[in-house]
């Protein structure tokens, strides 16, 4: 009598019976079988106890979780990821072009400034290395500000005519 209908001892059908997934006819048929089959009753009792135990544990675990804190934690993590993706990374990406461009512009400005704007202190416009000739007098001097070199000479025949030009 333990196996009144061996074909009806189907574990899958028993699971579906327990879950209420069978139609009304099948439910009645399965209930009748369980009433007669001790093995299926034991199986059903074991499954029911396991399910209840599982539900209880899930319930206990859910009760122990602080959902408000978890929500905050998840929200903060999502915000951090969003900011790092949209904010800082974008800033760094822009620096990738800005820094070389700034360096190039700085170098160009530096060389342009040092070559064309920054005027060095004036140097003599001409340096006289040697001077020979037949003349009465010669003076070499330069203007005080721009240091323009001046060579002033008096030809032998001009001695009397213009001795004090300077």
């Amino acid at each position: 009598m333990t196996h009144p209908n061996a074909d009806a001892c189907d574990e899958i059908r028993l699971d579906r019976y327990l879950d209420g997934d069978l139609d009304a006819g099948e439910m009645a048929q399965m209930a009748a079988h369980i009433a007669e089959c001790r093995q299926c009753r034991r199986q059903l009792a074991a499954l029911t106890a396991f399910s209840q135990n599982l539900r209880d544990r899930v319930h206990d675990a859910a009760n122990s979780v602080d959902f408000v804190a978890l929500e905050k934690q998840v929200l903060n993590k999502a915000l951090r990821q969003y900011r790092s993706r949209g904010g800082l990374s974008r800033f760094i990406a822009s620096l990738k072009y800005t820094i070389p461009a700034t360096v190039t512009a700085g170098l160009l400005l530096f060389f342009a400034y040092s070559n064309y704007v920054l005027k060095p202190p004036p140097v003599p416009s001409a340096i006289i290395n040697s001077f020979t000739g037949s003349m009465s007098s010669v003076m070499i001097f330069e203007t005080p500000e721009t240091r323009q070199t001046i060579l002033w000479y008096t030809e032998e025949t001009d001695v009397e005519s213009e001795p004090n030009a300077v």
């Binding site: 070559n115 001409a126 340096i127 040697s130 000739g133 005080p144 002033w152 001009d158 005519s161 213009e162």
Partner: protein, 151 residues
């Protein structure tokens, strides 16, 4: 990414190399010499407008009241090549660039009057600088020769 890096590198290196090598590349073996002949006198107060920029500081050093530009002549001379400029009073100025290095050109000048050499000199003339050579009497004043070089 590699291509982008090369472009950026080129952007930095090319201007730098230009500034570094520009002087060397553009250094020429010839220079342009110009000789302006100025008559400085005291009989009036006329100063040629084109001279005002160049002789402003000279005016404070000389006691002349007028400066007139009598002539202006330019020569394009290679290193070692001589050029002659005719000057008032049967004078001639022989100009020979001897070398160009850095910002100065070594130039030999020989001033002649008729067939006689008045003086010879070797000068290092600043690029775009001038040497004022003056003294000889002419008409009612004195001649000043502004010798400039550019290269």
């Amino acid at each position: 990414m590699r291509y982008r890096f090369r472009c950026l590198l080129a952007l930095v290196v090319l201007p730098l190399s230009w500034f570094v090598t520009a002087d060397a590349l553009l250094a020429q073996e010839s220079c342009r010499i110009s000789v302006d002949t100025i008559l400085a006198a005291r009989n009036d107060t006329v100063v040629d407008p084109q001279l005002k920029q160049h002789i402003g500081e000279l005016q404070s050093m000389f006691n002349y009241t007028s400066y007139r530009l009598l002539s202006s002549e330019s020569l394009n001379l290679s290193v070692g090549q001589s050029g002659m400029v005719s000057l008032p009073g049967d004078r001639r100025l022989k100009i020979t660039p001897q070398s160009i290095h850095g910002s100065r050109a070594d130039i030999a000048l020989q001033m002649m009057k008729q067939k006689r050499t008045v003086f010879e000199t070797q000068v290092q003339l600043l690029n775009r600088g001038s040497l004022f050579v003056g003294g000889p009497t002419y008409q009612n004043g004195n001649l000043i020769f502004k010798i400039s070089s550019a290269y």
